[in-house]
Amino acid sequence: MIEVRHLTKRYGGHTAVNDLSFTIEPGAIYGLLGPNGAGKSTTMNIITGCLGASSGEVLLDGVNILDQSASAKRRIGYLPEQPPLYVDMTPLEYLRFVARAKGLRGEALDEQLLAAMERTGTLDVRDRLIRNLSKGYRQRVGIAQAMLGDPEVLILDEPTVGLDPAQIIEIRELIRELGQRHTIVLSSHILSEVQAVCDRILILSHGVLAASDTAENLTALFAGSGAIRLECRAEAVAVGAVLDRVEGVERFLIRPGEGGTSLVELRPRANCDPREALFNAFAEAKLPLLELHRERASLEEVFLELTRDDPGELREAEPAEARAEESEEVSEA
């Protein structure tokens, strides 16, 4: 639906976004994740036509967004990082202005206005000056503004930033609800947020796409080499003997634990999950297993790994993989 092709944006000597390409498919919630200054807002500003790119293009159903700006903009609702509110207006006046600017008139206007205010919970404050509203309500008015005109795509730049925890949960629920009818792209530098709401995650780092996948796949990608830890009430020698018999164990390390137990850290062979075999082997030897679990790289670790400042090996390797996957997607489509 939205195709970003080789997008580059330079501010003077600084490159904010560097040769960025990705595709947004309809019907999903996308999370644009990256630390501050990774180029998230710049990317969103370009997608919505607020900012011109230094090179590259954004296609909406195959049409360049800048060529068909009015009709393209009607299909995209945008909430910038700082909600663009006229503080000397009330939410009702403000939303009416936006609805008119989006070409709504008469009954359709009133209907959409009411629906947007209802869904964002701003109906109660509709006659108060925006100047006097709390940050949470301002954010809601901003989201209501983006919803007007029933656009297919909603682009929300850091929709929960600066809100208190209760408000964050409310806004997240609202976004999930909106995700049923709209394609949503939201940005955040908070990982748990993206994890909680989004179907697919695009990780940006220094203006470059570091990874693009579902939350599960991203985690799995890094969990492949996950170590297995187990605790057994037995002597180290006996444990070692059992481990030697189990297939799929590459190497292991046994340390004495408290109260006569042994702590084992073992590394399985690639693409191998020996947990079942381990359980059976220990049961046969009548050695009681107290604990057995595989460590998974948390998404947090993946994120930190991908976006850390010194480009390590992993990060170097990742974009290639991410891009390869993406090109598969494109060819499928």
Partner: protein, 288 residues
């Protein structure tokens, strides 16, 4: 465009600014009407308009300063870029709202000659002709103020720059008399202008090559013209200064002449500055 127009108009009249502008203009119109027409027994309302035209120097910068600069500060300009609006529509909506604010005191002033007529003979032709010119002059200055607001980040900067520009326009006609009329002086002055233009271009585009090229073309053209016909340069610069005197065109109307060329002049200047405002907004999108 209508959405922007309605929003702007509501903002001017829900806040103080629109009323303040009208009150300010009408206060001075009242004082001068009292002095000239009621106490001085002149039957010419155009003298009042002549005397209060300097009010524009303060009223216009104050009215236009927030128009676009404030949008930029509050980041609401992003909304205008993201909405399915054409930037020309946005600028036109804003400008028409400014015109509507100006139209209010003008409409009230239109009653004054009729009131004065109750007490003696007032020639309505020059009075209303001058009032129309007064409105057109205001419209023209508002477009300049709007453009300045579009280039500024802060309201204060916008107001100060607009005041400086309007002051220059106010005095430029009279200053023209003091400038040397020799051909070589005109050439030097025009070269300085070309240099200023190049510097402004460099500031805007950050492209040294384009600026140098523009300077070379302007300077080369001037020298070539000077070499071909140096007589044309005598008095050229003071002429140009006099032509730029927006206010001086207005005085012709006060003298009882409805100068159509001045009307065309005002409308053209307005169109040019509205166009520049659109370009200024468009440029923001590319280099922000």
């Amino acid at each position: 465009m209508t959405a922007v127009f309605r929003r702007e108009l509501a903002a001017y009249f829900k806040g103080m600014l629109g009323w303040l502008f009208a009150a300010f203009l009408l206060l001075f119109a009242g004082i001068y009407t009292m002095a000239y027409n009621l106490s001085g027994y002149y039957a010419n309302f155009e003298y009042v308009l002549d005397s209060i035209s300097f009010i524009y120097l303060i009223a216009v910068p104050v009215l236009t300063m927030r128009s676009i600069a404030e949008e930029r500060r509050a980041r609401t300009d992003q909304l205008l870029y993201a909405l399915p609006l054409r930037l020309s529509g946005v600028v036109l909506g804003k400008y028409l709202a400014l015109l509507a604010v100006l139209a209010l005191p003008t409409a009230v002033m239109a009653l004054y000659p009729l009131i004065l007529r109750q007490f003696g003979s007032v020639s309505l032709g020059p009075a209303y002709g001058t009032l129309i010119a007064f409105f057109l002059l205001g419209a023209c200055l508002l477009s300049i103020g709007l453009f300045i607001s579009s280039t500024c980040e802060s309201q204060v900067a916008s107001a100060v720059i607009a005041l400086a520009v309007l002051l220059a326009l106010y005095f430029i006609g009279s200053l023209a008399d003091f400038v040397s009329t020799s051909a070589s002086a005109s050439l030097v002055a025009l070269l300085m202008l070309a240099l200023l233009f190049a510097v402004a271009l460099w500031r805007l585009t950050r492209s040294a090559i384009a600026s140098a090229l523009a300077l070379a073309v302007c300077a080369g053209g001037l020298f070539a013209w000077y070499a071909a016909d140096s007589a044309a340069f005598s008095g050229l610069f003071p002429d140009i200064m006099a032509k730029l005197g927006l206010f001086d065109r207005f005085y012709a109307f006060v003298g009882g002449v409805f100068d159509l060329t001045a009307v065309v002049y005002y409308i053209s200047i307005t169109a040019v500055f509205l166009f520049l405002t659109v370009q200024s907004l468009e440029k923001r999108r590319w280099s922000e």
